[in-house]
């Protein structure tokens, strides 16, 4: 038995099922990622991180635990990870991007539940995620009814703390969020056994901001013509950013961005002549690479993600000039209130941001990606459609899940959309 296998066994994973999952993941990664041409050496670190997705990073988490820190699993970009780091904890964004344990999940959840919720419940019930098993506790949130009720069930299997996310952006909502931020801080201090100090919180704010800045730089560089990096690779970096060690990821993304700058200066890129599109909508967590793969094997390149795994995660920084913990908490509240998740009503800034991103990266069209049964995003797609029509930006609306059974239908839609936008004279 290898060291990794021993570790997984100690974590209580279902070893044979987990072995199967890693094989599928490895094959998927080979087909979708390693087969790409013209990848920069800066991607090797990310390939390595992914190849060790359930190995070395888990060892690091277990070492952190052995040293007395808590590992906290989160599911949403609303979880204020700065407070977790400031209390000596380690924040890990749990992925929930695979059709795993679905039958087990359907024993406790209605069938008309989105794939993401089924996945996080499925991963837990099937004992397949070493990240979830490494966590001391989980942080959920009330972004949608499905998640809200699923956390009550998940709590039976792993302690799950739930934050209340406001649904509007008025003064009363900000006050609610402020109170929730304080409640979260007190909870995290108690569970981590360590007070959040001004010094610690300030350092955490800078550390997480640095990672956001590195990802913002990547987002800017992607907009070059021709695109210097595939959308799949850029998505992968945004996915890994949820669970890798932040300072290390920041440094590695920086190195990759240096290479991208060189490439852009030389006038080089990948996918010359490819149609440029952005994807907007639901998050795409590891290993949900289905749509990017379909899009990028149909003569297009994805140059931006208006998504929680993408711009919504990295767009806004926390002000760094707070001196006291109270002041910094206020800055955190301000920053997180800017998130334009479809759980808000009304949600006009999301529409602005989609238009802004499409224009900034010079995209010929937008693909709106919504998970089937996701009420907020499938419904908001109509508003997106109205707005993009008014702006003269072509849109393809898709609803799908994690299964591969609709891949041919998706291909037909995506290819037809690309045919359409190729023919539109662009002025």
């Amino acid at each position: 038995m290898s060291d990794h296998e021993r570790m997984w066994q100690e974590l209580g994973l279902d070893l044979s099922a987990h072995d199967g999952l890693l094989k599928v993941l490895g094959k998927f990664y080979g087909d979708i990622y390693l087969s790409q041409q013209g990848r920069l050496s800066g991607m090797q670190y990310l390939d390595f991180v992914l190849s060790e997705i359930h190995g070395l990073r888990i060892q690091e988490l277990l070492s952190a635990k052995a040293a007395g820190g808590k590992v906290v699993g989160t599911f949403c970009v609303f979880a204020p990870e700065e407070l977790i780091w400031a209390a000596g904890g380690t924040a890990v964004g749990l992925c929930a991007g695979a059709d795993v344990g679905t039958q087990l999940a359907e024993k406790v959840l209605p069938r008309n539940t989105c794939a993401l919720i089924k996945a996080f419940v499925g991963f837990k019930l099937a004992r397949l995620c070493p990240f979830m098993e490494s966590c001391d506790f989980l942080v959920g949130e009330t972004t949608c009814d499905g998640k809200k009720k699923a956390y009550e069930i998940l709590d039976d299997y792993k302690p799950t703390y739930v934050m209340e996310i406001p649904q509007m952006k008025g003064a009363a909502d900000r006050a609610l969020w402020q109170a929730e931020m304080v409640r979260f801080k007190e909870m995290i201090e108690e569970r981590c056994g360590r007070a959040v100090t001004a010094e610690g919180l300030s350092a955490a704010i800078r550390m997480v901001n640095d990672r956001r800045r590195a990802l913002q730089r990547l987002s800017r560089l992607r907009s070059a013509q021709p695109a210097p990096i595939s959308g799949r690779d850029a998505l992968l970096i945004n996915q890994i950013a949820f669970y890798d060690d932040p300072p290390r990821l920041t440094a590695k993304v920086g190195e990759l961005c240096d290479q991208l700058e060189e490439r852009i200066k030389a006038g080089e890129g990948i996918a010359h002549g490819a149609v440029r599109v952005i994807v907007a909508g639901c998050p795409m967590a590891v290993p949900n690479w289905k749509l990017p793969y379909v899009v990028e094997s149909s003569g297009a390149v994805i140059v931006g993600e208006e998504s929680c795994v993408g711009e919504r995660h990295t767009r806004d920084l926390v002000a760094e000039d707070g001196r006291s913990v109270e002041e910094m908490l206020g800055h955190l509240v301000d920053r997180y209130m800017q998130i334009d998740c479809a759980c808000f009503t009304p949600n006009p800034t999301r529409l602005d941001h989609i238009v802004e991103l499409a224009r900034r990266v010079n995209a010929a069209g937008v693909i709106h990606y919504a998970l089937q049964f996701c009420g907020p995003y499938t419904t908001e797609a109509y508003k997106v459609e109205q707005r993009l029509e008014a702006e003269g930006i072509p849109l393809l609306k898709l609803e799908t899940d994690y299964s591969l059974e609709d891949i041919e239908q998706l291909k037909t839609r995506v290819e037809a959309f690309i045919e359409v936008i190729q023919e539109v004279p662009r002025g």
Binding site: E408, Q409, T412, R413, A416, E419, E423
Partner: protein, 253 residues
């Protein structure tokens, strides 16, 4: 002369069609069932064509031919739009109901695709749905359409899922409902769904109805009534995808 002949092949879920254009005319057309061996069937059809200057594949199995026969591909959406515009210049919408897909396509005045809608992965309202319903009622497809056209009364059908609708129909027959009225109810449901899909993409009238299901005259008339505008069926609607592909092969697409 090979340079003047252009072929289009449409590999659908139920049938494969080829069309050869020569000097602007359809010189050859043939159709086979897709069967369990679409590649073999396509090869047989293509072998019978003789030399062609260029060929293009469309339909659900287009990439199969792209991979194995090295044919360039185009989506059904572009192929149907191209064929419709060629036969009826100025038409503004296309409805294509095939074996497992329904597509509504809006065109601008020059025939360019503006928008399209497709049914999702389920076969509700497609050719496959009608086949299963006809069989449940003990009809051939022709009898099914004739039965529905022969009555004005109808039994409302609430399920659009093929599996649920089949059990609903079985239940209605067991409750003593008239077979023709059930057939009409099924046609009305499919027509309502197709019209709704057309309305979502286009407000313009002048619809070309293509795909094998367009041969069902009762359905055409019901969609026309539902839309309140003309719905035209080309002479061989099931060949429209292949015709569009042949036209695009000729245009060098």
């Amino acid at each position: 002369m090979a340079g003047g002949r252009f072929a289009g092949i449409d590999v659908g879920s139920r049938s494969i069609e080829v069309v050869v254009l020569e000097g602007g005319r359809i010189e050859f057309a043939a159709e086979e069932e897709t069967s369990y061996d679409p590649l073999g069937q396509a090869r047989r059809l293509l072998a019978a064509l003789g030399p062609v200057g260029a060929a293009l594949a469309t339909g659900y199995g287009r990439h199969l031919l792209g991979r194995h026969l090295n044919l360039p591909v185009v989506t059904e959406i572009k192929a149907h739009a191209t064929a419709a515009t060629s036969l009826h210049p100025g038409c503004r919408a296309v409805l294509d109901i095939g074996g497992q897909d329904t597509k509504a396509i809006a065109l601008d005045a020059t025939g360019r695709v503006l928008r399209f809608e497709m049914n999702d992965r389920c076969a509700a309202g497609t050719g496959r749905f009608l086949e299963v319903m006809a069989a449940t009622l003990g009809y051939t497809l022709e009898e099914f359409a004739a039965g529905a056209a022969g009555t004005t009364a109808s039994v409302a059908i609430s399920s659009m899922c093929t599996v649920f609708a089949a059990s609903e129909v079985t239940g209605l027959l067991a409750a003593g409902k008239n077979r023709e009225e059930v057939a009409r109810g099924l046609h009305e449901t499919v027509a309502g769904r197709a019209a709704a899909m057309l309305r979502r993409v286009s407000a313009e009238s002048g619809v070309i109805f293509s795909g094998g299901v367009a041969r069902n005259e009762c359905l055409r008339a019901l969609i026309e009534a539902e839309l309140g505008g003309s719905v035209l069926v080309p002479r061989w609607p099931q060949f429209m995808g292949a015709l569009g592909a042949a036209l695009l092969a000729r245009a060098g697409a």
